[in-house]
């Protein structure tokens, strides 16, 4: 504030000019920031569109020879990402079964006991867990599951790494949503003699449902695109498999495989387009749930 005096005695028109110039700078900077999103979406849409057809969703990934034959004769590559879709679905469902209930309960615990030192400690741990790079969770799931339980790469290991990723996201969103509920509602419930567990599942959860749903959807959209931990755990598999003790593929893993195979280039555009559209729609859905059902 002290440096305002010399500024104010300065030439007005020059100050106005810098003012306007700075505004343009801010607008230009903002435009530059969002240009990549248009470039990425546009690029993927144009190049990935051609390969998207029914077979893309119903057939497993082709081998490199089939792809080479198709590419050399100018046809679209046969096959699709069905093995990735089933693998992703399997692992995401398993991870959700573990992380959603546990995350909700821990979030409620932290909210209900926020005066306790222990609860605040758990909240800090959750924050640290949220910052752990996903590749490290891959190492952890490898050590715990691949090495000691399934004795080989497996869908179970993949879902454990994804679940550890989801958990802090759900805990944080649960706690933050709960904190927005007016205390008067809880007090009214208790005044009527409502038991504690009934207060939680008849009042806290229904009242904050849209907030909780948003948290879950955002967590799901995060893990759906995760690749790194799955490379260390689920590995990938050319066949459609729903066995949790065996390796499975996932859509992002397939993108990685396609990327490493020069014959599959056009398939990688389509798979990336699909993954991006899917994850972004989930993201948008989460945000629309959040904005439509603002509590009270």
């Amino acid at each position: 504030m002290t440096e305002m005096y010399p500024v104010l005695t300065d030439n007005i028109s020059r100050r106005n000019r810098t003012n306007i110039r700075f505004r343009y700078l801010v607008i230009a900077g903002s435009v530059i920031t969002v240009i990549p999103i248009f470039l990425i979406v546009g690029n993927l849409a144009v190049k990935g569109f051609r390969q998207i057809n029914l077979a893309f969703f119903t057939k497993p990934a082709p081998d490199t020879f089939q792809a080479m034959m198709a590419a050399s004769s100018g046809e679209i590559i046969p096959g699709g990402i069905a093995n990735g879709l089933t693998g992703s679905l399997l692992m995401v469902v398993l991870a959700s079964l573990f992380a959603i209930p546990l995350g909700l309960m821990t979030g409620i615990y932290i909210y209900e006991n926020s005066s306790l030192k222990y609860a605040r400690f758990i909240r800090n741990l959750t924050e640290i867990l949220q910052g752990v790079p996903s590749i490290i969770l891959g190492i952890i799931a490898y050590i715990w599951i691949v090495k000691n339980i399934t004795r080989g790469y497996s869908a179970l290991a993949g879902s454990v790494s994804l679940a550890i990723m989801m958990l802090p996201l759900i805990i944080r969103s649960t706690e933050e949503t709960m904190r927005m509920i007016p205390v008067s509602i809880r007090e009214a419930a208790f005044a009527l003699g409502t038991p504690y567990y009934k207060m939680i599942y008849k009042i806290l959860i229904p009242v904050s449902f849209s907030g909780l749903a948003t948290g879950v959807l955002l967590a799901l959209s995060r893990i759906l695109g995760e690749t790194a931990p799955l490379m260390l755990t689920a590995l990938g598999s050319p066949a459609i498999s729903l066995d949790v003790t065996r390796p499975v593929s996932a859509v992002p893993l397939l993108i990685w495989d396609f990327y490493n195979d020069p014959n599959m280039v056009s398939l990688v555009w389509s798979a990336s387009l699909f993954l991006m559209v899917f994850v972004l729609s989930m993201n948008l859905l989460a945000r629309s749930v959040a904005s439509k059902h603002k509590y009270i």
């Binding site: 700078l25 900077g29 546990l102 309960m105 490290i136 504690y196 790194a228 993954l275």
Partner: protein, 283 residues
């Protein structure tokens, strides 16, 4: 009444799993890293050797630490002007308008794009541009990786900065306006000074993101296990070397990779802690 007890116990047990999980992660990383540290000692951190040939195996983390730190800091430097202007746009110039809402959603979308899609897009769209500049032969390298990394962390820096800028009390700004200050002067003499620590924290947290990013960097940095010789030279990061080599590793090499994971864990935890600390003191 017993229902209450059961509920409370259940909630407590679920909170315990977080404790066990965190402890388990730290113990497993230390346990896995132990053979490498026992073999190489402190030299593991400062050495840049990476030789997996059986018999003369030698591993050091320095090339990867350097790669991670250089790409992340460069990404942060590129990200600062973008995130700074975007957050001013959202929270100051067009605060509360439709335009600001649209820009905010677009920036949020950037955060939603999966890392591997960024990497792939960078490989096919950005890399040829880098080759066209003539600065690199292949287009791979620290700068290409940092550029994509910068785009990836912009949303994190922006959303937090914008939130903090919008929290600056209107009275303070109005007082400056009433003294005849222009908007730019209000921004630099009122808004930024009073939101400074929050803005810094948002950039530190964005840095924390950049440090652990794996796929996009792996696809663009060139994967050379050396300390990068320049901004356009290839290198490797801690996360990338794990992603690239973990699958075929065993024995001492696996332990070395887990040790790199442990170091990465410690670095990101430290950076995130610093950011959270500043935020908490600000709030």
């Amino acid at each position: 009444m017993s229902g209450d007890r059961v509920t409370k116990v259940l909630l407590f047990i679920s909170s315990l799993t977080i404790l066990l999980l965190s402890a388990g992660i730290v113990i497993s990383l230390f346990g896995g890293a132990l053979p490498a540290f026992r073999e190489f000692g402190f030299r593991f951190i400062i050495s840049s050797a990476w030789n997996p040939t059986a018999g003369s195996e030698e591993y050091g983390a320095m090339s990867f630490i350097a790669g991670t730190v250089i790409t992340s800091i460069l990404a942060l430097i590129i990200c600062i002007p973008m995130a700074f202007s975007t957050s001013l746009f959202i929270a100051e110039y067009y605060n509360g308008t439709r335009t600001s809402g649209i820009l905010r959603s677009l920036v949020d979308l950037l955060a939603g794009i999966p890392s591997i899609v960024y990497g792939f897009w960078g490989f096919y769209a950005l890399r040829p541009l880098m080759v066209a500049t003539g600065l690199t032969d292949q287009g791979f390298g620290v700068f290409t990786a940092s550029l994509v990394l910068a785009i990836m962390i912009v949303p994190y820096a922006t959303s937090l900065s914008a939130e903090i800028i919008s929290m600056v009390p209107a009275e303070l700004k109005e007082a400056a306006y009433s003294l005849g200050a222009t908007r730019r002067e209000v921004i630099f003499s009122v808004v930024i000074p009073s939101a400074r620590s929050g803005i810094i924290a948002s950039f530190i947290l964005a840095l924390g993101r950049a440090l652990g990013e794996t796929m996009a960097v792996t696809m663009l940095i060139g994967n050379a296990n050396v300390i990068p010789k320049g901004l356009f030279a290839p290198g490797n990061t801690m996360a990338s070397v794990i992603a690239n080599q973990f699958g075929e590793a065993s024995g001492l090499k696996m332990s070395a990779l887990i040790a790199i994971g442990l170091l990465l864990f410690l670095i990101t935890a430290l950076v995130n802690y610093l950011g959270k600390l500043i935020i908490k003191r600000f709030a």
